[in-house]
């Protein structure tokens, strides 16, 4: 979907306050909005691409559902569902170019999927069989950050490296509305603005940080926080995959053109619990959940496809079948994930030799051997 690298519109970041002050290309009932200047950024997205985006979103949701099930069945220690955030993740990730580098949080399974990560590998961390699942360099995707907000600085530093290299790619940091309160995110804004580095901050404002509503973090918008640091910000309907795609393309184009950081606030909703350990009934209302169910990003894109005759039952069946296939593979792969050997404890703590590690490795082996005998 990065096929048509966007140019930075001459007039900078277009103003658009069509829908709740958010950039929106597809309305909640699946109509194309009229007059939004962001359309020019996705002018190349035709029928096939729309169907691909839909397929991505369905598959990603299926991965999420399957992982929830695996957790409920005791196969995963934990899972952080992305339900409801498929458009924000797929839309932004599909705008990325292979040489961009992403610093995700723990909820970006959709982003990881779009970067080409095998869903089974995503589960390593959640099953507890590893602290990571893939080679960051291969996919241009760091291991998910669990320390909320820390990755914003990593992305900024990586972007500084891109700038020093004279490259035209970008670093992308994903984080949540809650994370925007952490000092690290603020420092990342400051460094990124000060150094004018090619970084895109994608904040998925899913309305909640565990039990805390976004208004507890910020009375204004998160987009405004970035602007205070001199970072142009785009507030976008995060349940509109095309709008997110457009905004991300614009941000990446700005980065590549040497215009520095952009903040995208993708306004969306965490339709599920924070993680499988969470119980949202303690802190939010069914009414609110219902209100957002109407804005479901998949429903909306399907409505568009249907309205424009781009999808029929046959297409949908094939998408479902593809998603089921991915889910089946995921389940098989999960169950087959091996436990690491105990000796792996000592691996990769240091690159070079380290007497204490070697000593403990030997002691551990000796200790284990007392049981063998």
């Amino acid at each position: 979907m990065a096929i048509a690298p966007a140019r930075v519109p001459e007039r900078g970041i277009p103003e658009w306050t069509g829908f709740d002050g958010l950039v929106q290309l597809i309305s909640v009932d699946g109509q194309r909005t009229v007059g939004c200047p962001y359309w020019e950024l996705v002018a190349d997205v035709g029928a096939d691409q729309l169907r691909d985006l839909y397929t991505d979103m369905v598959v990603v949701r299926r991965i999420d559902v399957e992982s929830m099930a695996l957790q409920r069945q005791g196969e995963l220690a934990l899972w952080a569902p992305l339900l409801g955030q498929e458009a924000a993740q797929v839309g932004s990730a599909r705008a990325l170019r292979p040489d961009d580098f992403v610093f995700p949080s723990y909820r970006e399974h959709g982003v990881a999927y779009c970067r080409g990560v095998d869903p089974v590998d995503m589960l390593r961390l959640w099953r507890g069989s590893a602290l990571s699942g893939w080679d960051p360099a291969v996919f241009g995707l760091a291991t998910p950050a669990i320390i909320v907000g820390s990755q914003a600085l990593h992305a900024t530093g990586y972007a500084l490296g891109i700038m020093l290299d004279g490259a035209t790619s970008a670093a992308v940091a994903y984080f949540g509305d809650g994370a925007s309160s952490e000092g690290d995110v603020a420092e990342a804004f400051g460094f990124a603005a000060s150094f004018t580095v090619p970084v895109v901050f994608v904040c998925q404002n899913n309305q909640w940080a565990i039990s805390e509503p976004v208004r507890l973090q910020s009375h204004g918008t998160i987009a405004q926080r970035g602007q205070g640091y001199g970072i142009p910000a785009i507030a976008v309907d995060g349940n509109d995959v095309l709008a997110v795609l457009a905004a991300t393309r614009l941000a990446l184009a700005r980065a590549s053109a040497g215009e520095g950081p952009t903040l995208i606030e993708a306004v969306t909703y965490r339709m599920g619990p924070h993680t499988t350990s969470d119980d949202p009934t303690r802190y939010r209302s069914r009414d609110e959940e219902e209100e957002w169910r109407v804005k479901d990003p998949l429903v909306r894109l399907r409505a568009l496809l249907r309205a424009e005759g781009l999808a029929d039952d046959g297409f949908e069946d094939s998408v479902t079948a593809a998603a089921d296939e991915v889910a089946a593979r995921l389940r098989r792969g999960c169950l087959a994930l091996p436990d690491p050997p105990p000796d792996a404890l000592f691996d990769h703590v240091y690159a070079g030799p380290h007497p204490l590690i070697e000593e403990e490795r030997d002691a551990y082996a000796a200790y284990v051997s007392t049981f063998d005998s």
């Binding site: 507890g128 590893a130 565990i210 404890l345 703590v349």
Partner: protein, 323 residues
């Protein structure tokens, strides 16, 4: 009642006793904290005494410092051990030093609650044992209960204490039940007093927090195998009640110190160093330490190899006995 419930009850009593006690932290209100330790407290005391804060740990502790200077007695919750580091600067440079800096003219009666330790199959940063960072920091008190009764008493003492207390809660013991005397005065024992949990004659295991139950298990097994192990629950990590430990070592002549934190420069080092010095002529064998490895905390499928269990404790006791 469980340790988690005991802490909840203790907090409730502390809040009833002193209107200046205010709780702060992420998700402690309606949710009652991710471990439900503050469950029901916002409902009963209101959102001006049980305050959900923005998601920023330095902010939680730093604003608590200001509240303390205004005369409040804040109790901060850090959601998990691994999230205390963003607040490290405020804790080390402010909380710990403000009284000394101000020659006693500023009080810092702050409690910082930190669920800590492993063994619950969690993802990274949710199983750490950072206690020695705080124990090494002058100006702080560092304590950790190992059971419901102590939790109930110690949290009240910590909140009532005029010094800052970092209060480590052994998260994998939250659900373990024990007798709690809710009427118990908070002054029964000084906050820094250790306790001989089980008496023994052949060797002493000094443990704290989550490791006390493990040490007791080791002592039970030891007894079956004919070794009489004395188990000490340190309860306070700064200051350490060396009197109790040294008295035990003078009796048993052997000491094993156990904790989940990495052995290297862990609290066990201080205890071993001190006891080796003070009980030089009473030790029958070198003090031995059993604890976490000199590696980051592993993925949870490996944690049982990382964490000391009763077998590893007994292995070290045996080595003491064989020396």
């Amino acid at each position: 009642m469980s340790l988690g419930q005991a802490l909840n009850a203790g907090l409730r009593q502390a809040m009833e006793r002193d209107p200046k006690v205010v709780l702060m932290g992420e998700d402690i209100g309606k949710l009652g904290g991710v471990f439900r330790v503050t469950e029901g407290l916002q409902r009963d005391f209101g959102d001006r005494r049980v305050i959900d804060t923005p998601l920023a740990e330095s902010g939680v502790v730093g604003t608590a410092v200001g509240l303390a200077m205004r005369g409040y007695r804040p109790v901060c919750e850090i959601q998990f051990d691994g999230f205390v580091y963003p607040a490290f600067d405020q804790i080390v440079s402010q909380v710990a030093k403000l009284r000394h800096r101000n020659e006693g003219r500023v009080a810092m009666p702050l409690t910082i609650r930190v669920p800590y330790g492993g063994g619950i199959g969690a993802v990274e940063h949710h199983s750490e044992s950072p206690e020695v960072y705080f124990a090494h920091t002058a100006g702080l008190r560092v304590v950790t209960p190992s059971n419901a009764a102590d939790g109930h008493r110690m949290i009240q003492q910590a909140v009532a204490c005029d010094d800052p207390v970092v209060f480590f809660e052994p998260k994998r013991r939250y659900w373990e039940r024990g007798e709690v005397d809710e009427g118990l005065a908070t002054t029964v024992a000084p906050l820094h007093q250790a306790r001989v949990v089980v008496e023994g004659t052949d060797a002493t295991i000094a443990a704290y927090g989550p490791m006390v139950a493990t040490a007791l298990e080791a002592a039970r097994i030891g007894l079956q195998e004919g070794t009489s192990i004395e188990v000490i629950d340190l309860r306070s990590l700064s200051p350490v009640d060396f009197e109790t430990i040294e008295a035990s070592v003078r009796k048993t002549g052997r000491l094993v110190v156990a904790h989940e934190a990495s052995v290297f420069c862990g609290l066990g080092a201080e205890i071993a160093a001190r006891v080796s010095e003070h009980c030089f002529y009473h030790l029958e064998s070198p003090v031995r330490r059993v604890g976490g490895l000199a590696t980051p905390y592993p993925p949870s499928r490996l944690e049982r190899h990382y964490l000391p269990d009763a077998d590893r404790m007994l292995h070290e006791v045996d080595r003491c006995l064989q020396a």
